[in-house]
């Protein structure tokens, strides 16, 4: 795969906590030089925890940029140098208290390849058991239980609007079907 836009200069316009913003000059194959805005993000992992009874464990939280509460799979940003499998184990435990004996990688995706470097990895977590970690009862307050079938309907009906959650739910449904699981 050939690189058709070659970076020739770059300058940071903003250095933040979650994102940095870079303005680059890039040379196209025809020699023309163009500006390219790049929002740098560390990337992250989302995990769909599915128990043996077909229940999924979801997190509801307020999302400031879009000013609404959203129902999402447990997820978190990659720490510096962290491998995505390790991040999946950590975030699953931190957000739900579960450990998983069967973490299945459902792939990665670019949330907005036109302006952002963010890549999210998605896992299906089966073989769930209560872990060593016991978060305060408060930390469970925002964990909600839904059947996979219900989540699929909510993705199709537009009740679920988060990219990683739609990808995880639809890929999981397809994965279980392909592998004749349940």
């Amino acid at each position: 795969m050939k690189c058709v836009e070659e970076p020739i200069a770059g300058e940071y316009k903003y250095k933040g906590v979650i994102v940095d913003v870079r303005l680059d000059k890039a040379r196209l194959v025809n020699g023309k030089v163009v500006n390219r805005e790049v929002v740098e993000h560390p990337g992250g992992v989302g995990i769909l925890p599915l128990d043996s009874e077909g229940n999924c464990y979801m997190v509801r939280q307020f999302r400031y940029p879009v000013m609404k509460e959203m129902l999402e799979i447990p997820a978190g940003k990659l720490e510096k140098g962290e491998e995505h499998l390790r991040c999946a184990v950590r975030e699953l435990s931190e957000e739900t208290g579960f450990e998983s004996d069967d973490l299945i990688y459902l792939g990665k995706f670019c949330t907005s390849p036109g302006f952002s470097t963010e890549i999210l990895h998605v896992y299906l977590a089966m073989g769930l058991r209560a872990g060593n970690m016991h978060p305060d009862e408060d930390e469970f307050l925002n964990v909600e239980k839904y059947s996979l079938k219900e989540l699929l309907r909510m993705c199709m009906d537009g009740e679920i609007e988060d990219a990683k959650t739609i990808v995880a739910v639809l890929k999981t449904s397809e994965y279980l079907k392909e592998n004749n699981i349940r």
Copy 2:
């Protein structure tokens, strides 16, 4: 749905062509004041064109932020004040030359609700016909034809890595199944 993070101040840190970046102060329900980074994006529309023989029309393009070529559904940003259906009609025509007699709305999603305002609307375009517009032959060079089944496999195998494309392909497969189409 109650707002649990109230904006109390904001300042633009970067004003760009595709994105602006704002740093806000927001008050949580417990009274604590926190910083919130927000990348403002106009949002956009993606369209999966599906013809009567089961072929889909895709676009391959280099994506600078992730430094790779990606296979994606035709898509584009919303122009100021543009309604998303109008944008779907426009982008379908501009990128493939098609008009559609049967545009089906598959919903919207937030690409990265943790830091970005970007919302993408996804359409399935059936009833395709060559439109009034006839782009130069050059403009067709990056349009590629795949069966929906092949695209589904490519989403599951990780060959397709673009969020809106994965959402459109998986939602379309589910939509056709639910409605007993083909």
